[in-house]
């Protein structure tokens, strides 16, 4: 009897499994786009609590605080901004967005719950000082002249959030049912599985969404994403270079996104603890750059789809403006400098290494980490190491995860990376193809998130230049400062740009005409922006 009982139990167990199937069922009349991505990053859709959640998702639900303005101006003394809101910005609950919401959004940025970074506290102070001029106008006071507030809000994704809604319902409710002013509104989210959005019912001031509903599935494995695309379970996936080229041969539509630039870092080479490292010698660092055939990497690994000569600054960062302010002559000077110095010259590399006293070869440790912006970041490490080995370096690559890499980048947090190679860190290349400044930003100042120049006599001057540059109201002066910054960082050979290569998207057969597929690759496109515009065939 007991035996039969056991048997029945065994048969019933799987039946229980199907008792509550989960499945979201879009209505058949709607235009639906189903996208599979590899990581949601943070799983909360509350932008004020952190920037971890994928911007690809947040940007569709929310509008940037500067996006919703019809005009803005900075006072001549640089100590305040007048921000005038558009009249047609509506939250997803139907309420009109006003200057009160704008003020509230800035307040959240510097609130203790915010993880957006202390740069805003430097700009706005610990408490936001602002006055409501009228319903749609805000005067925002800053801590000292802050001409780059707008650029910072862009680069750090500061979004407009609803004051009344959050204050009335509480932050926990906002986490569960977030609302923004973007073209898509939140429907539901199943943690670790998928998120669902639908287009706003009324015409959005910015775009007219090309489809009614959007599902974003979390599918970490690339092979699985490809299988889902091939079987019509999703319409669009992100994928690596190799798979993209293979699928292209099979007739699937492939689109290329923004160029993403990858740089390597010689970590804290001037730190006292790095004195025994070959990287302490600037000639070795320069030689390692000369040893890499960047063009060959682009031509072979990326089949010509990338850049190596003119690496460009990250999108929307304030120093894009600063580089423009340098003027065309100085920009050209640094572009020529880059062409000359980032060339492939293994003979010169060997000579420099010999001159530095490492003619018999030397050991290098490279902590290689993945980067969310570029799936190829870790793949190029063995290729670059191969070039280095030809000039005498014996490279040991240690693959680490992002958290390990980030937690050791600053010399005061960990000594593990001092005198070693780190990265690659990748940045989306901006639309201004004007100058070479890979990984060059204020994060490398002493109190930034990694202090590359620590121990160098130039660290203090470098930090001061960034501080001055951020508060300079004079464009000409800003340009000079940027010129000086480049003059310190680039010849220090602390940061070595390698390549800029694209990320890829593949589209399923349901999408008849992906909007960016026909664009030439050099024209950068935002991988996910077309969600808002594309016409998806049912």
């Amino acid at each position: 009897m007991r035996r039969w009982g056991l048997l029945v139990l065994l048969v019933l167990l799987p039946a229980l499994a199907f008792a509550s199937p989960t499945a979201e069922k879009p209505s058949g009349a709607e235009k639906v786009l189903r996208v599979a991505i590899d990581d949601f990053a943070g799983e909360y859709l509350n932008p004020i609590e952190g920037s971890a959640t994928s911007r690809h998702i947040l940007r569709h639900m929310y509008d940037n605080v500067f996006d919703v303005l019809k005009s803005w101006e900075i006072a001549p003394d640089g100590l305040s901004w007048i921000l005038r809101m558009r009249d047609d910005v509506i939250f997803h609950d139907g309420t009109k967005a006003t200057a009160k919401d704008l003020k509230f959004s800035f307040e959240q940025v510097v609130a203790p719950s915010s993880a957006l970074g202390g740069e805003f506290k430097k700009m706005l102070g610990d408490q936001v000082k602002a006055e409501l001029v009228d319903d749609s106008t805000l005067r925002l006071y800053t801590k000292g002249p802050q001409p780059f507030l707008r650029a910072m809000c862009w680069s750090e994704s500061v979004y407009l959030v609803p004051k009344d809604y959050i204050e009335k319902n509480g932050i926990e409710s906002f986490r569960q049912h977030p609302i923004g002013t973007g073209p898509f509104m939140f429907v539901q989210k199943v943690a670790g599985d998928y998120m669902e959005f639908k287009a706003v019912p009324a015409k959005h001031w910015k775009v007219n969404p090309g489809f009614d509903r959007l599902f974003v599935y979390l599918v970490p494995e690339e092979g699985t994403r490809i299988a889902m695309l091939q079987t019509g379970k999703v319409d669009q996936i992100g994928l690596g270079m190799e798979s993209a080229l293979e699928l292209e041969k099979k007739g699937l539509t492939i689109a290329q996104g923004n160029l993403v630039e990858g740089s390597l870092y010689f970590m804290h080479p001037s730190h006292p603890l790095a004195q025994s490292s070959p990287l302490h010698d600037i000639r070795v660092r320069q030689a390692l750059s000369l040893a890499v055939n960047r063009k060959e990497i682009i031509d072979t690994v990326f089949q010509g789809r990338g850049e190596w000569e003119l690496l460009t600054p990250p999108e929307n960062a304030w120093y894009s403006d600063a580089i423009v302010a340098m003027g065309p002559d100085r920009v050209k000077y640094w572009q020529d400098w880059a062409k000359q110095n980032w060339r492939y010259d293994p003979e010169e590399a060997r000579r420099l290494i010999k001159e530095a006293g490492y003619g018999d070869g030397f050991d290098l440790e490279w902590w290689s980490a993945p980067d969310q912006s570029a799936s190829w970041a870790q793949d190029i490490a063995p290729i670059v190491a191969g070039y280095w080995e030809k000039v005498g370096a014996r490279v040991k690559i240690i693959n680490v995860d992002t958290a390990t890499w980030k937690s050791r980048r600053h010399s005061t947090k960990s000594k593990d990376l001092i005198g070693k190679v780190g990265g690659a860190d990748c940045f989306i290349v901006g639309e201004y193809a004007i100058g070479p400044i890979p990984g060059l930003n204020r994060w490398t100042t002493k109190d930034g998130s990694w202090d590359l120049l620590v121990g160098s006599p130039q660290q203090a001057a470098y930090d001061k230049l960034w501080a001055d540059g951020m508060s300079s109201m004079d464009a000409a002066r800003t340009g000079q400062i940027m010129d000086q910054i480049l003059g310190i960082m680039l010849p220090s050979w602390t940061v070595v740009p390698i390549i800029a290569a694209p990320e890829f998207l593949a589209f399923g057969p349901r999408i008849k005409s992906p909007p960016y597929a026909k664009l030439p690759y050099k024209q950068p496109c935002d991988l996910y922006a077309y969600w808002q515009y594309s016409g998806v065939e049912k």
Binding site: R3, L10, V11, L13, P14, L16, A17, F18, S20, P21, T22, A23, A36, G42, E43, Y44, N46, E49, G50, S51, A52, P112, A115, L116, G117, G118, E119, M152, S155, E156, R175, V190, A191, G192, D193, Y217, L218, V219, P220, E221, G223, T224, A227, M228, Q230, T231, K233, D401, T402, A403, T404, K406, S407, H410, T412, R442, W443, D447, G448, S449
Partner: protein
């Protein structure tokens, strides 16, 4: 009662281990902060999360929370860990039950066929299959099954939890190891029982072969198999990072993995502790079942 006390001690040890191991993997602060965050930001967030306190203080708070049934809130998801766990756990449980059933039933059938045709072609095939099942990596099996049954034949969905058909591929992938292990154990256990004097006597007395196999041999060969199955069921309950990742299955294994990647201490600690509790409870239940199946065994004294 003794088992219950042992379980409590095991839980305290587990909680301590989990606390220590979670901190060895690193710090969540760097993952939470934006790229422009300064050292000061990192310090402030570390303070806010209470991670700047001495380890013994953190440990004390953690254990006090456990006593109150509070394992904390996830940093990555911004939700209580218990709520998250029990949101993901049903998905793992459903898949685990299907996997368990497939693995045990097929394993049993294979093991019995193998034992009753010892040395024959069937036995050899079953043994080869068992070796493959024990040694082939799950990610390879999973991708191959997906390629054949989803991409080429279009018979089954490739991934995600979308109705009954979506269980087949992940459950098959996950059950391979269980199937192989069960088959090997049933075979060896059956063979040893079939070689005993009482089975020989039954045959001499003219008892039919099916009765010899089903009633006398299988019943007596069950005990080690049940122990194995119990341990495997407990093992299945904490999910499979590999299977859940390959098939985009929102289960506990993937949740724990996400916690580890994001250095989400509370998430890792909470999930491991809850899973640990479950495993301890299942172990106790298996002991009880073992005792019921074989009355000679007493929980405290072993075989009398």
């Amino acid at each position: 009662m003794t088992r219950a006390w042992q379980g409590i001690v095991a839980l305290i040890v587990l909680a301590t281990l989990v606390f220590v191991l979670a901190r060895i993997i690193g710090n969540p602060v760097d993952m939470m902060l934006g790229p422009s965050a300064s050292l000061q930001d990192a310090k402030e967030l570390t303070h806010k999360l209470g991670l700047d306190q001495p380890y013994y203080v953190q440990y004390g708070q953690f254990m006090w929370g456990l006593l109150r049934g509070d394992v904390g809130a996830s940093i990555k998801f911004r939700e209580p860990v218990t709520r998250l766990f029990f949101q993901f756990f049903p998905n793992t449980l459903k898949l685990a039950l299907v996997t368990f059933t497939i693995g045990i039933m097929l394993g049993f059938a294979l093991g019995m066929l193998s034992a009753t045709s010892k040395g024959g072609a069937l036995d050899r095939c079953a043994r080869v299959l068992s070796v493959i099942g024990m040694s082939a990596p799950a990610f390879w099996i999973g991708l191959m099954l997906m390629l054949v049954f989803a991409v080429y034949l279009r018979l089954l969905p490739p991934a995600r939890m979308e109705g009954p058909a979506s269980y087949v591929l992940p459950a098959l992938t996950w059950s391979f190891y269980l199937l192989a292990g069960t088959a090997r154990l049933v075979r060896s256990s059956m063979l040893s029982v079939m070689d005993t004097e009482f089975v020989k006597l039954a045959r001499i007395k003219g008892v039919s072969e099916s009765v010899v196999v089903w009633k006398h041999s299988l019943r007596n060969a069950l005990a080690p198999v049940i122990t194995f199955a119990g341990v495997q069921l407990a093992f299945l309950l904490h999910g499979s990072v590999v299977v859940e990742s390959i098939f985009a299955w929102p289960g506990v294994g993937r949740l724990i993995y996400q916690g580890i990647v994001g250095r989400d201490y509370p998430l890792v600690q909470g999930c491991l502790l809850i899973v640990g509790c479950m495993i301890i409870i299942i172990s106790i239940l298996v002991d009880v079942l073992y005792c019921l199946l074989d009355p000679r065994i007493r929980l405290t004294g072993g075989v009398q």
